[in-house]
Structure formats: C-alpha cells, structure tokens
Amino acid sequence: MTILSLEHVATSPWGVRLLDNISFNLEPGNILGVIGPNGAGKTSLLNLIAGDISLERGQLRLRDKPLARWRRRDLARHMAYLPQLSLLNFPYTVEEVILLGRSPHDTGTDIDRAILEEVLAVADVAHLAERLYTRLSGGEKQRVQLARVFTQIWQRGSLQGKLLLLDEPTAALDISHQQSTGAAIRDLADRGCAVVIVIHDFNAIAKLADQVIALNDGRQFAYGTPREVFTERLFEQVFAADVVIGEHPYRDQPMIIAR
C-alpha cells in the first residue's frame, strides 16, 4: 500500500501560490529527500502533508484516504512531524518532552516507559533524560525533539504505515550525531516507516534517500533517485551553484563538492 500520494497538488494559503503541481508517491520503508533553495517551498510541502495548510487543487492521500478525511488523533498516531524551530521555553525535563510524543496514544505507562528507554538510546539523549530542556544546547535540543517525534510513531516490530516528516533534523548537530541520526532514520525506514526529509546536505541525501524531489519556486523541478536528480543542470538552474558531481569512493552513490 502506498503511504503517501500527491497528485498535481497546489496550495496558496495566503493568496500566494506556495506549491504548484507537485506529484509523487511514497512507499513504506522509503525515504524521500526534499531539496531546493531557500524559499522554494520545502517546509510548505511538509506543512501541507501535515495538514497545517489546506489543499487548493489536486489530491493528497495518506494510506489511500484523502488527508482531510483523517481524524486528528488517528493522524497523530500515524504521522509525526519535526519542525525546523522549537519554541518550547518551559522547563520540562528531557524525559517529559519526549513522553509528550505519546499523548495521542492510550498505550499505558509501562509501554510508554519502554518506548522512552529505547528512543533515549537511539537519539543518544539517555544521559540528558533528567536535565531541564531549557538548559540544553541547540544540538541537544534538536536530538530531544527528534526523540519526541520518534516516540510518537514508535512501536514494537514493524513500522509499516507510519510516516515521519523531518525538517532539517541534523542542522544543529555535530558530524558524529549527523551520522548516528542518519543511521537511526535509515533503521526506522528498514522497519517499514516512510520518511520525508528536508536536508541541505546533498551527500547526506545521496546516502539516505531512496527518492529525491527538487523544488524550485514552489514547482517540482525534478523527481527520481538521487543519481537521476543530481545533475549539473539542477545545480546551475535551481541553486545557481558551481559544483562537481563525482562518485563516492566507497559507496555506489554520487558525491557533490564545491568546484
């Protein structure tokens, strides 16, 4: 079953066309990378899928059911969204923040605690569990928020049917946590979770994503595997950047470096 399908989707929530004619399908276990210059509509695309802005034209289906027909709580049990910025400035402990991810579920304290323990380890925040969120560094906060959205869709066994929306989840992270976070996201996908991820690091996308969609000015410039999408034409026309597209020395993936 296709998790997420967009057909000729357009939206203009404040009278300005933010997205136009976007179409793609996302299958369980696949990771879709979203790239584009600043203001291209990457976050708008995530907001649209999350139901924050309404659809103007086209079809948006989650598990073959139009998004508008989903009940709010059901949706929250299947889809979690990590926004770019967190506004939280109340002194929750890290543990309390992460457990907020369980609020759409009625699984009970024991299961929630067990999930918390697993996710604390996955996001490498176990040592922070009892600290106050407001006292953490930017990167630590980001890992805690990531753990919160993991918690929201976490369950024993298969994650078939779950969808994760991540807006620049690694922007504030050091290189070691960028790598471990990438591995954690890949793990979730291997267990059946579908992921839509916005990252500016092309090499991270090449390593992580099964498909890539390139947005330019709200339109779909290209869609395909990283190898198909990463072309010199893309970097010239969309990013106005001068890059070299090479081969990764150890893995079968393209590698992008500044010329």
Partner: protein, 366 residues
Amino acid sequence: MSALRRARAWTIRNIALTRRGRAKGLIVALSGLLPLAMLLGLSNGAIALALTDVFDGLSHTLAGDAHSQSAVIVGHIRLPRVLLAAVMGATLGMSGAATQGLFRNPLADPSLIGVTAGASLGAALVIVLGEAFLRNSVGLQGYAGLTLVSAGAFVGGVISVLFVYRLASSRGGTSVATMLLAGIAITALAGALGSLLEFFADNQMLRRISLWKMGGLDGANYPRLWVASIVTCVVMIALPRYATALNALLLGESEARHLGIDVDRVKMALIIWVAIGVGTSVAMVGTIAFVGLVVPHMVRMLIGPNHHYLLPASALAGAILLLVADTVSRTAIAPTELPVGIITAIIGVPFFISLLRNRHHYGMQG
C-alpha cells in the same frame, strides 16, 4: 570539579529525578496546609478565638444552634468568609495556571484577556447608572444592590473576554498573540469608560467603586458562597480535562496539532472556563491582584510545567494564599479591615520581582 559545581549538578539531577515524586508530595503537603489555613482564618480576626472555641462554634453551627458568641462569630461571619476565600483563591490559582499554559507565557495573567477590566466596568456601570435607576423604580436596596453589582461585573467580564476572543479570531484560527494585544486594547477601553463613569459619579458612588476595585471578602455570605462553590466545582472539573492538551500546547500550537490536539477547540474551551471562573471571582470578591499570576509561577518552579500536577497544586496554593492574605487583611489593623487585594499585591509584587530577577535559576527563558 569544585564542591559548588558538584552541589549544583546534584541539585539539577535531583530536581529532575524526583519531579513526579515532588509534585505528588507538594499536592499532599498543600492539602494538609489548606485546613490549617482555614483554622487560622477562623480563629483570627477582630476577636481572637482559641481553637477549642473554633471547634465548639463549628460543631454548634453544624448542629444548627448557633447561639453562643463564638458560634455566631464562627458560623455566621467567619466560616462563609473563609470558605469563600478558599474557593475563589482556588479558582484564581487554577485559572492562572491554565492561562499561562494557553499563552505559553509564564508571565500571563487572566486579567490579560480583559476579564478584570470588563468586570470593573460592569460593576461601575451598575453602581453609577443602574442602581440609582433601579432603586428609584423598583426599590432594590442593600443586599440586592450588592448582588446586582456582582451580576454586572460577571456580565462585563464575560462580554469583554468574548470581544477579545472575537477580535483575535479569523478564518485561520485564533492567535493568542493577537489576543494579548486585543486584551490590552479592551482593558484600556474599559478603563477609559470606567473613568468616564467615575467623572459623573457622586462621592458615595466613587467610594463604592474604588473599594470594590480593591477587592475584599467582607461581603461574604452563604448565598454568595453557594454560587462561588458551584462555579469553582465546575471549573475544577473542567480545566484539568485539558491538562494533556495544555502540556502539548507548550511545545507550540502546530506541534500540539500534530500530536492530535484540536487546538482551536481547546483554546476556546479554556478561554470560556477561565472567563467564567475569573468573572465569578471578580463578581464575588472584586479584583484580587497577583494570585492568578504568582501562584502558578511559584508552583511551576517547584514541580515543573506538567499540568496534570500544576493545575490542582495551583488551585490548592491559590486557596491557601488568599486565606492567609484575608486573615492578614482582617487582623493587621483590626478592627478596621484592609481590602484583600492590597495585601495580595503587597505580598505578590516583591515576590514577582524576585522571580523575574532569578528566572534563569530554574530554567525559564524569555
């Protein structure tokens, strides 16, 4: 690592480790303090009573034969007053906690959404215009007049909140930031209209308006207590049902929506309940400063922002604070009573300033 840093790390760890335990402990401790504060209020006043007299008076009152002096003082004067202070303090404390959660601002106060200013205007309207008219035509006086002022205050408070809410709502939902600004605007407008009324009021009306504005529990009686208790019960049952939603709302509105919360419905419900609770308290005991602001803030410092504990603990602490403040107001320069609003402000303001100056100590930012 220096001893100081070690001690600090230990404190931080302990704050977090035992937070749930502390929250439950605080609620138990406050539940124990509440009856003590009530006894304090019952035994102190213009005439100090020994605890045996208080229990004696209580048992006589419950038995229905309140004839001895202590029974009259306890049963007729102090008991309704003490209970009214407790229920209104609880309503103010819990409403304040809900307001701060809703606005995601630890410095928010129920008066920000216009309820206090609207209620003051409603009361002033009744005092200046309505009462003179009604007294001449219908012959209402004394007790009925007092009730009319309360009704005017309640209606004024609720109308101004609805107005603020309408101003901040658009097709895309309700913006809490706009609500704050609309609340300031409505407060200024109600204040100006109130001043206009005072300009045309005579001396006796002016004194009544200003005394009413200072807040006081001296009008306590059993009918008022019944109304206040029923409203408090309803608010105490209604608000905690939104504890999970309030917890999620602290993350941000869209984050709460992504966690399955119907944010717009929750916002509307919270505003209505807070307006009813605070509107009733302003109607019954006038404007009482800082209980709704300082109490939840203080409780949050001790047990963190989890509303499952914060709401009930704030209700208990609000009840205790108002009980103590009222006892002070009755005894400080007895037999003259000070308006309790003055006492809560005198206790509250220095405390609030010290909170502002030390907010980094407990992880509050912004």
